[in-house]
């Protein structure tokens, strides 16, 4: 082939790169491994992750739920996972129709009118929601509940730092674990949005209706973030409570915890704000013969057309993970999502009650919870959890001190439909004996 294009050597392919800028040596990366060697290396590294093999009660933004076997089979189809962004609709209808269904499912679950084709994850979706609230309201202050996931708040802070938006944090109620009265009361005429997570970082369900009313009374938007999307199978949708923008981490829907990613951000809002949405949107369209199809639409919001005036810089999103969520939600369906949610709530209620009965343990917050709750233990939570892990092979939760240094004795426990009664009893036994 070199000959066919009139070159004598592969080096000549790079003649336009000045000689002094070319790497004059081989890359100092390892020599090639065979398939056998490679798998062996990764299996060994995987085996050094003791946490992956334990019975787990960890949540806080990443949840272990049942994943129907067919989810990974569908994802693994070449036609889906080796396709690009559906820029040529005639040969991308599989991806496009899937995204249209995804957008519909997100609307149904959140109670909103429009949803986009996905964001990177829940945390970046929340940051984009705050930026969008500024565009919609032309106001520059966002007030967030400090009972939102600390990492989500960090991401919001990073995103808004140069956007002229002032982010204020309102304390949570130490008794209920819910956002405090101060949050609702601090909304004023310069507030673009109230930002609240429900269930919040402590697992407590917020009174979204009251917060929506407080926000709307001053012309602000209510942004609701959800890290445990499974809660939508049981709890009143944020849309029904008056939320203006709903963002969620969709990992609970058919996606393994996989050390934090890839996950999928859900982003939904009211129809009147559709042209302010960040990211891609798929809409219905027809060809000359009247056949229904789907296309990427309202692209004039996006960076490839609007450049610096775009609603966001996002281009690549989480298409394949949105597909996973779509397959999951369609397989579980109307009944399955509700049943899984109910089991989560029932098992968590059972576990919480039982833990509160163990000597030395209590539940510090009184607010209602879905499948996650805070436990106060007799000693330092970090040490306690380390011992349970090492001695009993149980991952008993997440020490709050990792996020809030003064909460040394408390830890967050999450229970899902995948935690059997036996596992729950094993956790209780561990707490009793350690």
């Amino acid at each position: 082939m070199l000959e066919a294009i009139g070159l004598g050597s592969a080096d000549e392919l790079f003649d336009s790169i000045p000689q002094d800028l070319r790497l004059q040596r081989p890359l100092n990366t390892p020599a090639a491994l065979s398939e056998i060697e490679l798998l062996d290396r990764f299996e060994q590294m995987g085996a050094r992750n003791a946490g992956a093999a334990r019975i787990s009660f960890k949540g806080a933004g990443a949840y272990s739920h049942y994943i129907p076997t067919i989810v990974d089979h569908i994802l693994s189809r070449s036609e889906f996972f080796t396709a690009y962004t559906p820029y040529q609709p005639e040969i991308s209808q599989g991806t496009l129709q899937t995204i249209f269904e995804f957008q519909t499912l997100v609307c149904q679950l959140t109670g909103m009118e429009v949803a986009n084709a996905s964001m990177y994850d829940g945390s970046t979706a929340l940051a984009e929601a705050v930026l969008m609230a500024e565009r919609v309201t032309r106001r520059s202050k966002a007030i967030a509940s400090s009972a939102a996931h600390p990492q989500y708040l960090e991401v919001v802070r990073t995103y808004v730092q140069h956007a002229g938006i002032h982010l204020e944090l309102a304390p949570f109620d130490e008794r209920t674990g819910q956002s405090s009265r101060e949050l609702a009361e601090s909304v004023d005429d310069s507030t673009a949005a109230l930002v609240v997570q429900s269930p919040n970082f402590f697992g407590c369900i917020e009174d979204l209706q009251a917060l929506a009313d407080a926000a709307h009374a001053k012309g602000a938007l209510l942004i609701v973030a959800i890290t445990e999307a499974m809660s939508l199978g049981l709890l009143r949708s944020p849309g029904a409570c008056g939320a203006d923008i709903v963002v969620a981490e969709g990992q609970s829907f058919g996606v393994p915890v996989s050390f934090g990613g890839p996950y999928v951000g859900l982003f939904a809002t009211r129809e009147k704000y559709a042209r302010q949405i960040p990211g891609r949107l798929v809409g219905e369209a027809y060809d000359k013969k009247g056949h229904r199809g789907f296309v990427l639409t309202l692209a004039t919001r996006e960076q490839h057309i609007r450049r610096e005036k775009a609603t966001s810089n996002i281009c690549t999103n989480e298409g394949l993970i949105a597909l996973a969520a779509t397959v999951y939600l369609e397989t579980m369906g109307r009944r399955g999502v509700q049943e899984a949610a109910k089991q989560c709530a029932q098992k968590a209620a059972y576990t919480a009650r039982a833990i509160a009965g163990v000597k030395g343990y209590s539940l510090p917050f009184t607010g209602p919870f879905f499948n996650e709750f805070v436990v106060r233990g007799p000693g330092k939570a970090v040490d306690l959890l380390a011992r349970i892990g090492k001695e009993k092979g149980i991952d008993g939760g997440i020490a709050l001190s990792r996020f809030m240094s003064d909460r040394t004795h408390e830890f967050l426990v999450c229970v899902t439909e995948t935690n059997s009664r036996q596992q729950i009893e094993a956790l209780l036994e561990a707490l009793r004996t350690i």
Binding site: S34, Q44, I74, Y84, P89, I91, A285
Partner: protein
């Protein structure tokens, strides 16, 4: 000239899942609830009362057929060449997929304590090391989830650096220079970081106009330059060193958009060119699958000087050889994503790096450039090639000749579908009228390149002999060209029961 069609796209109609739904049908089974059911401490007004009406009720086989049927309407790399310029659609090894599904990684919770996640942290650390070697830039964060996210991270790092270096005076340095040929994400990312954008002209040869760059750098307001190299015309910016010098002398920093790194891996390193910060697209250059639009992974790589500004946590190796999370970075721009980023993509990219080996990485680059040159040589007689320079991993042509007969780039792209190929990138870069940006990648052999060239040449003849045939393409897809303007005028963005 006879062309073998690689595929066709005729398959049965498949409704929306909501239209297939049958009340009472289910496709899942959970174990019976094994704890005593209690009245939940959740007030009624916090509970859903719509019974999720409208959500699908279907069986498992309904779901399987639904998605398998829809999948047949998609073109994919595994079907054939996907020559989307600037997108680097290369083969996605199944081995990498297997690696990402190893239970020790897939079942690992992101908040697992460091000592119980040493293998996972090692993967991040090792990939960082390799990317540092490949780019010549030692500071790496794998946290950004995609290219645009990496750009935003890189530009925020530049801003943080300038704010620290110049103090209050930095407020006068808020201009980001971006060539007119750049990806749209560049100006959008600059804007997110609080910069205003000034556009640099390209020369007639398709390279950055140095005189214009000097002129723009003369006012003391330049924070930096965002440059893609090779640029989006597929040309290496031969004056890259001089460009970096000009920007540096003006007090700015140079950001390189690494979307086109597939032309450089193992051959040349941005760090050696004077670039300060770059993002990579693991979902392009390092072959992690594109998944119909993501997930991606957009590592940010920078100089030693900029390293303190990278997002936290940093993943570091301590003196006892264990891997740790380092949050103690007071100058960091902050966190850009929850947890560590798109970890599954890091596993795949490391597997790609290790299976290719150092020589294989360079060979892939050579093949990618060679394939492009081969296609360029094959098309130059039939299509207008606006720039004389030798292309690297992608090449731009235009519809100049065909448009005389009323056949435009969009039509050529649609006709290519009839020949069984995914079209090239069209109408980008914006500075080239009727642009067709072709990137074959290394994952195509000579036979398929010949087929592609033959298809393109055949379309060129058709454009003269039977333009209508091209103008009405595609002819054998499940649906024809969709009315996108009507779709945007009155958007229908979700299914509703009453729209049926």
């Amino acid at each position: 000239m006879s062309i073998t069609k690689v595929t066709s796209h005729i398959s049965p109609n498949e409704q929306l899942i909501f239209e297939r739904s049958q009340t009472g049908r289910i496709g899942y089974r959970l174990p019976a609830l094994d704890v005593d059911e209690v009245e939940l401490n959740i007030p009624d007004e916090f509970r859903r009362d719509d019974d999720l009406e409208g959500m699908p009720e279907v069986s498992e086989v309904d779901v399987i057929r639904h998605f398998v049927r829809m999948s047949t309407w998609n073109y994919s790399i595994d079907v054939g060449m996907y020559p989307l310029g600037s997108c680097t659609m290369k083969y996605n090894s199944r081995l990498n997929e297997r690696v990402a599904r190893i239970a020790g990684f897939a079942n690992l919770h992101p908040l697992t304590e460091e000592q119980d996640a040493q293998g996972a942290l090692e993967v991040i650390y090792e990939l960082q090391q390799h990317l540092a070697e490949i780019t010549g830039l030692p500071g790496i964060s794998l946290q950004p989830a995609a290219g645009a996210h990496g750009e935003m991270t890189g530009i925020m790092i530049i801003r943080a650096f300038l704010d620290q270096r110049d103090g209050a005076a930095a407020s006068h340095r808020r201009t980001m220079l971006i060539p007119d040929s750049a990806h749209g994400t560049n100006p959008a990312s600059a804007h997110l970081s609080g910069f205003s954008v000034k556009t640099i002209r390209s020369t007639a040869e398709g390279l950055t106009d140095l005189d214009h760059l000097r002129e723009l750098c003369a006012h003391g307001d330049v924070a930096g330059l965002m440059l893609t190299n090779p640029n989006t015309l597929g040309l290496f910016e031969t004056n890259i060193k001089q460009i970096c010098d000009i920007v540096h002398e003006a007090g700015g920093l140079v950001y390189m958009d690494g979307a086109n790194m597939n032309a450089l891996v193992g051959v040349a390193r941005p760090g050696d060119m004077g670039v300060d910060v770059i993002h990579l697209n693991l979902h392009k250059t390092f072959s992690t699958p594109h998944g119909g639009g993501g997930p991606g992974c957009g590592p940010c790589c920078c100089t030693k000087e900029l390293e303190p500004f990278l997002p936290v946590p940093r993943i570091v190796k301590s003196s006892d050889s264990s891997f740790q999370l380092d949050y103690d970075q007071p100058r960091s721009i902050g966190r850009v994503k929850a947890f560590f980023g798109n970890y599954g993509m890091m596993l795949r990219a490391l597997a790609y790096t290790l299976t290719h080996g150092n020589d294989g990485l360079r060979e892939a680059t050579e093949a990618a450039v060679l394939n492009t040159r081969y296609v360029a040589a094959g098309l130059v007689e039939d299509y207008d090639k606006p720039f004389a320079g030798s292309p690297m991993h992608e090449v731009v042509f235009t519809d100049k000749r065909q448009s005389r007969k009323g056949v435009h780039t969009l039509d050529i792209a649609k006709r290519l579908i009839d020949y069984g190929f995914h079209p090239m990138t069209i109408y980008f870069p914006l500075i080239v009228q009727g642009a067709m940006l072709i990137e074959p990648t290394e994952s195509v052999g000579r036979q398929e390149l010949d087929q592609f060239v033959a298809a393109m040449r055949s379309i060129a003849s058709e454009s003269v002999e039977d333009p209508e045939l091209v103008l009405n393409a595609p002819h054998n897809t499940r649906i024809g060209r969709l009315d996108e303007a009507a779709a945007a005028r009155k958007p229908v963005l979700r299914w509703k029961p009453d729209t049926d």
